[in-house]
Symmetry: C2
Subunit: 459 residues, 2 copies
């Protein structure tokens, strides 16, 4: 059976695959720092050459920022588009790294071998799982299955300023049947997952102004309005005593979880005590009568991410401040409309203002939730392949965070994305001593070989 | 009439009085900055010499901090103790000063002549009004009236760490019939006042901890408790919808205003629209059905002086913070017990904590309100003298702030204080371009001459 041959090839070639990944990791492609512009370019060149070496028609495409890498191969069958990013986060504080972040080495740890360095997990290691699967496939079959495209960006860690314009400008070229995105993780470090629900995000900054300058609380206290008190009352009013959000119309478009998905989540036996216990908590603090996974994946939230006002230094100062501000975000689900919620939120805040207070709002982005069409048989085929590889029933899961690329594929190209990844909870993404388990890398590339095989059979 | 002779002497000697004050102002006695320790010492020496030059038995008294200056004269009659402070606030930001803060000059302004420089109003200029009154009295009479003591400290602007121990250690020497304190201002820049009510102050810092570290709001939002939300709810609950403070027992010991005092305040025709209008407000925001002056002088308050938590920088970060904290102060009146209120406040906060949250309190001081015994005929005598000098009925007023020295005289020595001062609202205390009106200085010293005369006649 040819899949077995591909898997055997991947097993045999693992040391070389690790060497190739180390080469890519040695290029310090920190996208947010202009000092590394040349390195970002070099990483793109490396990928173009690597794709070309396995027969893919790949090229570097300039943008106002760092270049994209785009490649294509094949011309019939299901068109799969693989997305990853070659840029990495900065490495400071450097003194918290045990080793040079850009000289990645294999380390033995109590939990197995890991490759440690910046970008190992996020996202160069994950990106290469797919490339290595293709390389082995090509070595065994002499060709790649169906129609494959590759799309790597170099600005994911710096806000992706060129991504949407590039996708819009090249929509016909990038449109495909399904997108494959490898930038997520295993559930509980052992269950392979396909993320099918992503929460959206609405960010608002609210600044309340009372007096036109900071006042002395002895001289004015009692008679002058205090904007911190006003802001606190606004924030306190955002949730009712059942933990539900009070912004009018907020729950419009929030669906109940389909029973099959609910059953799948139930089967995950999510250990919320351990999840919360790790961060010093014991109880899910969200809406009454919702499970912890619902709170995290399928229910909307309203959080205060920051608050500030008056004297915040050491000691005490009896100031009655002129201004107080808060950064407030909403995680959105289903078909909640971010812009309608923004409007309703702003109307709520304005309605809570006492005389002599004014409010200023700052827009910090608005993106709707993402929901994949798991009716597409490709999803079940991929899920089966993952289950085979990991020996554990693969799960459709939600993701509490926002992965904007999935939304762009849907909104700009009309393409559903399969978010499949092999990261573990302790990968230290964005932090010192980032690592990627060699098992994640190895079984990751084997997973993609199985998925390519399953989707090819579907053709 | 000998009072007229003293007043005439003060008028004639005004240029020299200004020169003397300028000499004292040129000594940069910034008490909070160790670099100026020698200057604080020099200011104390200057005062000792000046008091000695008018026949007062004055000496510099060492403390662990900056020295006190104590002087005495006379041995019979009513014993008056005059208090002032010779230290000043720092001058930064220096570039906001139009002139060298320690080279004070007379300036003509649309509102009259002013002496501009650090300490002109707070408190060297005010302190010297009393010394100059004594100097003129001595020049005319050859002696000073009754029994007089002088008590100048050099740490008022840096928390007075040596004051209470010094007063305790020297209580017998410092005890007097009444204390005179010149560190306050005119009402509406024209009505002389005697402050008879001072609000107390209780300062508390509250830090709420939820998760044991900052979390990603995508990963944990919904399930993890957010300490900013908890803190906001606590703050929002501190006042009811009538503006009253909800801490149990808070209003114990809050008296209604005596009708004669209320009538006196009414007669001041306080222009709260102008007072609030200057800072961009239009309406008194305190308890329902209380006048603005009541809110400022005779009603207790609860203010949030600072709040902080989560991400406060530019842009947005979807953090779910571990901690949130607020600095909260209570202005106290009547016989409210600061320690009982602290205990009740802490119990209230603790009762508002949801599961998985903890609270830490930091004590930032507790002092009760001060209330002078205006039944003492000295108060009416002084009020009459002030009325004579300024041609406006002098008023007993409250003070929204806290002037700890008045409380110390009462608590440690059992002495009531008369707080009389001649500052104006635009004196820029603690700020760049501090000034003192020459009229304040001149009529201030004349006021003290009249008060000395009135109190001497009372003997």
């Amino acid at each position: 059976m040819s899949l077995d041959a591909v898997l055997a090839r991947l097993d045999a070639d693992l040391p070389h695959a690790i060497s190739r990944l180390q080469e890519l990791l040695r290029i310090p492609s920190i996208s947010t720092d202009p000092a590394y512009k040349g390195d970002c370019d070099a990483a793109a060149d490396w990928l173009v050459a690597d794709l070309q070496s396995i027969g893919i028609d790949a090229s570097k495409r300039q943008t106002p920022g760092h270049p994209m890498v785009v490649g294509h191969t094949g011309d019939s069958g299901k068109h799969l588009m693989f997305y990853g990013h070659y840029d990495v986060q900065p490495v400071d504080p450097l003194d918290l790294w045990d080793n040079d972040p850009f000289d990645p080495q294999i380390e033995d740890t109590p939990k197995g071998k890991v490759l440690r360095g910046r970008g190992t997990s996020d996202d160069k290691g994950q990106l290469m799982t797919f490339v290595e699967a293709c390389r082995a496939w090509k070595a065994v079959h002499g060709t790649l299955p169906g129609r494959l495209s590759f799309f790597f960006e170099g600005e994911e860690e710096s806000g992706s300023p060129s991504l949407v314009p590039f996708m819009r400008d090249n929509a016909d070229e990038l449109r495909s049947d399904v997108a494959l995105i490898c930038d997520t993780g295993l559930f509980a470090d052992r269950v392979p997952t396909i993320v099918t629900m992503l929460r959206g995000l609405l960010g608002e900054e609210v600044t309340i102004t009372g007096p036109n300058k900071d006042l002395h609380s002895g001289m004015y206290g009692g008679a002058a309005i205090n904007p911190i008190r006003v802001l606190s009352k606004i924030i306190a009013g955002l949730h009712d005593d059942q933990g539900r959000i009070t912004v009018p119309g907020f729950y419009d478009g929030v669906p109940e979880l389909p029973t099959d998905v609910a059953a799948g989540w139930e089967a995950l036996n999510f250990d919320h005590s351990a999840f919360l216990g790790d961060v010093g908590l014991s109880q899910p603090a969200g809406e009454a009568n919702r499970s912890a996974l619902e709170m995290l994946w399928s229910r909307p939230t309203c959080e205060v991410n920051g608050i500030s006002g008056g004297y915040e230094g050491d000691g005490f100062k009896t100031v009655l401040p002129s201004k107080a501000s808060a950064k407030i975000s909403f995680r959105l689900v289903g078909t909640q409309d971010p812009l309608a919620i923004r409007e309703s939120f702003r109307a709520y805040v304005t309605s809570m203002l006492p005389p002599d207070c004014s409010v200023e709002f700052t827009d910090h982005g608005a993106s709707p939730a993402g929901q994949m069409e798991i009716g597409d048989p490709a999803f079940e085929a991929a899920r089966g392949a993952l289950t085979e590889e990991w020996g554990v029933e693969a799960a459709y899961v939600g993701c509490g965070g926002s992965i904007p690329i999935a939304g762009y594929f849907k909104d700009i190209l009309g393409v559903d994305a399969m978010l499949i990844g092999f990261g573990k909870d302790d990968d230290q993404l964005h932090s010192p001593n980032e690592k990627y388990d060699v098992e994640s890398f190895h079984k990751g590339m084997r997973s993609w070989a199985r998925i390519l095989n399953a989707l090819a059979e579907e053709n």
